[in-house]
């Protein structure tokens, strides 16, 4: 017999006797988080190319400080240090991408502190926070340093005009005609937005590259397509219907769908697992709600952009949505 006795003893001592199931898929939290970070890279690299060294510095400060804060908090809370799971890095990176490229260096660092220490760990750590930590960080910075947070680098415009406002700002303050003029023509404007030659936060630039990253995540089934499609779709329909000055259905949905933080928000923020509903139906409700609030703020509110606040507002109702939208259960009809 080839299974000798001595052998046998050995194996008996080492056998694992845990309960079923005995095989697990090879996906892990770590793999998911790092893949999301990787999916952001095309947009990040473009932003560094487009905005230059200041953007690089801001991104680095945001990401690194997030990692450090995470490790520190976990040490202090005497928890397993899990910086390698990538969630803190992703949080810091997303926060930095919501900032103007040339903010003073302390801004991303304080933002990361608020995001990691206050928004994430004071709620209990990964998986427990109600609000998207990156957006809490950004919102807090917005209130504390409004000037730094709205000072944009000059936009190296395709035509001669040089402006230091974001497209949504121009729309809010000077109207749609002025907006078109800034870019030259309507089609030039669409091209600029789509490719990313415009002013704004680091991560608000290239629709194309953000969508490529998002599609990779959808393809890998790390995010559900319903979230971005329903949010961007809602913004498109509502701005088309109510966004124009010539009555119903005279708005420019394409502009609104590509402007501001909508694309990064729809693909990378409302697909954050922790702070959005867990079921597909819930995700749709969340996305439509966030889209609608974004339009409300953009068209009627005091701020030119509403993505960040709309997501935070919807974060509040996520537990409620999850409570009421339950999966269809077997044998309970």
């Amino acid at each position: 017999m080839s299974v000798e006795n001595s052998h046998q003893e050995d194996s008996a001592n080492q056998l694992i006797v845990s309960s079923s199931p005995h095989i697990l898929s090879n996906d892990s939290t770590q793999k998911i988080m790092w893949t999301v970070v990787a999916a952001l890279m095309p947009a990040v690299i473009f932003a560094v190319y487009y905005f230059g060294v200041p953007a690089f510095r801001t991104l680095l400060a945001g990401s690194l400080s997030a990692l450090i804060f995470e490790a520190l908090v976990q040490k202090i809370r005497k928890k397993r240090v899990t910086v390698s799971d990538g969630s803190a890095l992703l949080c810091g990176l997303l926060l930095a991408m919501c900032l103007p490229p040339a903010v003073p260096l302390f801004v991303p660092i304080i933002g990361s502190f608020i995001a990691i220490v206050i928004a994430k760990h004071s709620m209990g750590g990964l998986g427990q926070n109600i609000f998207n930590p990156a957006h809490i960080g950004r919102a807090a910075l917005m209130v504390s340093w409004p000037v730094a947070m709205t000072t944009w680098t000059k936009m190296p415009s395709v035509i001669d005009t040089v402006t230091s406002a974001t497209p949504l700002n121009i729309l809010k303050q000077q109207g749609y005609e002025a907006l078109i003029q800034t870019f030259g023509s309507q089609s030039d404007m669409y091209t600029a937005l789509f490719l990313g030659f415009r002013n704004g936060s680091i991560g608000e630039t290239s629709v194309l590259l953000l969508v490529i990253g998002g599609i990779i995540l959808i393809y890998k089934r790390y995010i559900d397509w319903v979230a971005p499609v329903f949010m961007i779709g809602t913004v498109g329909i509502l701005t088309w219907a109510f966004g124009g000055s010539n009555g119903l259905f005279s708005g420019d949905p394409l502009f609104h769908m590509m402007a501001g933080g909508l694309v990064i928000g729809a693909f990378f923020m409302i697909t954050d697992y922790v702070t959005t509903p867990i079921t597909r139906k819930g995700k749709i409700i969340f996305a439509v709600g966030a889209g609608a609030i974004t339009v409300l703020i953009r068209l009627l509110g005091g701020y030119p952009e509403g993505v960040c606040y709309s997501i935070l507002l919807m974060n509040c109702v996520t537990p409620l949505i999850d409570r009421f939208i339950q999966p269809a259960q077997y044998g309970r009809k």
Partner: protein, 438 residues
């Protein structure tokens, strides 16, 4: 016409290692250890004692309780011990140890060829009962009881479960390929006992050869062979009923409440053997597989053969396994010793290495929702695990249908945070049971 299957998981099935290998019958073991409890229900009482000489097929433990199933000697020889022994499902269990006399001689008067068509329902049931047949898919429910539904639940559909959805296992697959006629005989016997019109054999569509063989074997019988989507856990009773009969078993009820009885395909063969030839359940087909087995095989093994003997028939280990299972990787039971015997419910013996287990440290739920997508019962495993962790059992039971969980393991399998969801569920169920009632 088959309903679209959205639940469940699609792991690497790992069946290629054994699905092409004919069932092997090798030299008999020197001794067998036959536990007195190999079924769901009360233990049997031994009717032999140390020193007795027994013949193959002789009843050695009797089912005296209402829910039990007789146990027979699987070898001829001498009873050398009746004592507590390691049991693959129960830890320890009294068992009858028989030393092989090398004769392999049948109990006299046992074998007889019958034409079952002439027998009445009652006679058929009696034969099944006397042969000690239990559900061989792993649940080991005594078959003579399952085939005797109460008067108030009229049965109209019989489903023969040949999904074999657990990875690695190919015992049912080979049974169909090699014993299709006997299987069909068994199916027709069950059909007669239940007097039902609709009979389906559900086979996962990753076994087209078995579908074809069974279709041929069923020709002219009215039995319908149905390929069903390959997806774990399609072999779970509730799932295969939903796919083939388009019915959902209400929470807390048995399949018979919707007029369905499900029997495993191996059970059908055992019934065929018992009724047609008078052979009691003394052997079964077992898949021995996993990365740590030198030569994975499908074996015909006598009940009571030790895992060690079975593995030796497959060339032993290729490396030290980290886990040894009875059953499939999703619902199988981990073993602490190779001394445990093959029992009626052993459909597989798996030897797995660390790499195949893919286990890792558990971390916090990131609410990714995969467990919800995978759960065939439509539960929220994430909440169940969190409530279990916090000991909030009432909420788990009342608001999140804790008791509906069938512990299939899909949720734990897909969880990227490697949460031991099923373990929390079991723990919560235990606490809920202790609290009792309600």
């Amino acid at each position: 016409m088959l309903s679209k299957v959205k639940w469940g998981v699609h792991p690497d099935t790992r069946k290629t290692a054994t699905e092409g290998k004919p069932i092997e019958s090798n030299a008999l073991p020197e001794r067998v250890v036959i536990p007195v409890r190999q079924h769901l229900g009360a233990p049997c009482e031994p009717v032999v004692k140390k020193g007795d000489v027994v013949k193959k097929g002789q009843r050695i433990a009797a089912a005296n309780a209402p829910l039990a199933s007789h146990i027979h000697a699987s070898l001829s020889g001498t009873v050398i011990e009746v004592a507590d022994k390691p049991h693959p499902g129960l830890g320890q269990c009294p068992a009858i140890v028989i030393e092989n006399d090398g004769q392999d001689a049948w109990e006299e008067g046992l074998l007889s060829e019958r034409s079952w068509e002439k027998l009445s329902k009652e006679e058929l049931l009696e034969l099944i009962k006397n042969a000690g047949i239990v559900g061989l898919g792993g649940a080991t429910f005594p078959v003579h009881i399952k085939l005797l539904p109460p008067k108030d639940s009229p049965i109209d559909t019989l489903i023969i479960n040949a999904a074999e959805c657990e990875p690695f296992l190919t015992a049912d697959h080979r049974t169909m390929l090699e014993h299709s006629e006997l299987v069909v005989t068994g199916v027709l016997i069950i059909q007669k006992v239940l007097s039902v019109k609709n009979v389906y054999i559900g086979i996962e569509d990753n076994k087209p050869d078995a579908v074809k063989v069974m279709q041929e074997a069923c020709q002219g019988t009215g039995v319908q062979v149905r390929p069903i989507p390959t997806r774990y856990p399609h072999g779970a009773e509730k799932m295969i009923i939903k796919t083939l009969a388009q019915r959902e078993v209400p929470s807390g009820k048995l399949p018979m409440s919707v007029g369905v009885v499900v029997q495993n395909v191996g059970t059908a063969m055992a019934i065929g053997n018992a009724v047609k030839y008078g052979i009691p359940l003394i052997e079964r087909i077992v898949t021995v597989s996993g990365g740590a087995v030198k030569e994975p095989k499908n074996l015909r093994l006598r009940i009571g053969t030790s895992f060690q003997d079975a593995i030796a028939q497959c060339g032993g280990f290729s490396f030290q396994p980290d886990k040894i299972l009875m059953g499939g990787p999703f619902m199988g039971v981990a073993q602490y010793t190779l001394e445990v015997p093959v029992i009626k419910g052993t459909n597989g013996i798996l030897l797995l290495g660390k790499k195949e287990l893919n286990s890792d440290l558990e971390s916090a739920c990131i609410r990714c929702g995969r467990c919800i997508e995978a759960c065939p019962m439509g539960l929220n495993p994430s909440m169940l695990s969190i409530l279990g962790e916090r000991g909030m059992i009432d909420e788990a039971k009342n608001d999140y249908q804790l008791l509906d969980c069938m512990e299939c393991g899909c949720c734990s399998f897909v969880c990227p945070a490697k949460r031991k969801i099923v373990q929390y569920v079991r723990y919560s169920k235990k606490l809920a049971a202790e609290k009792g009632g309600k």
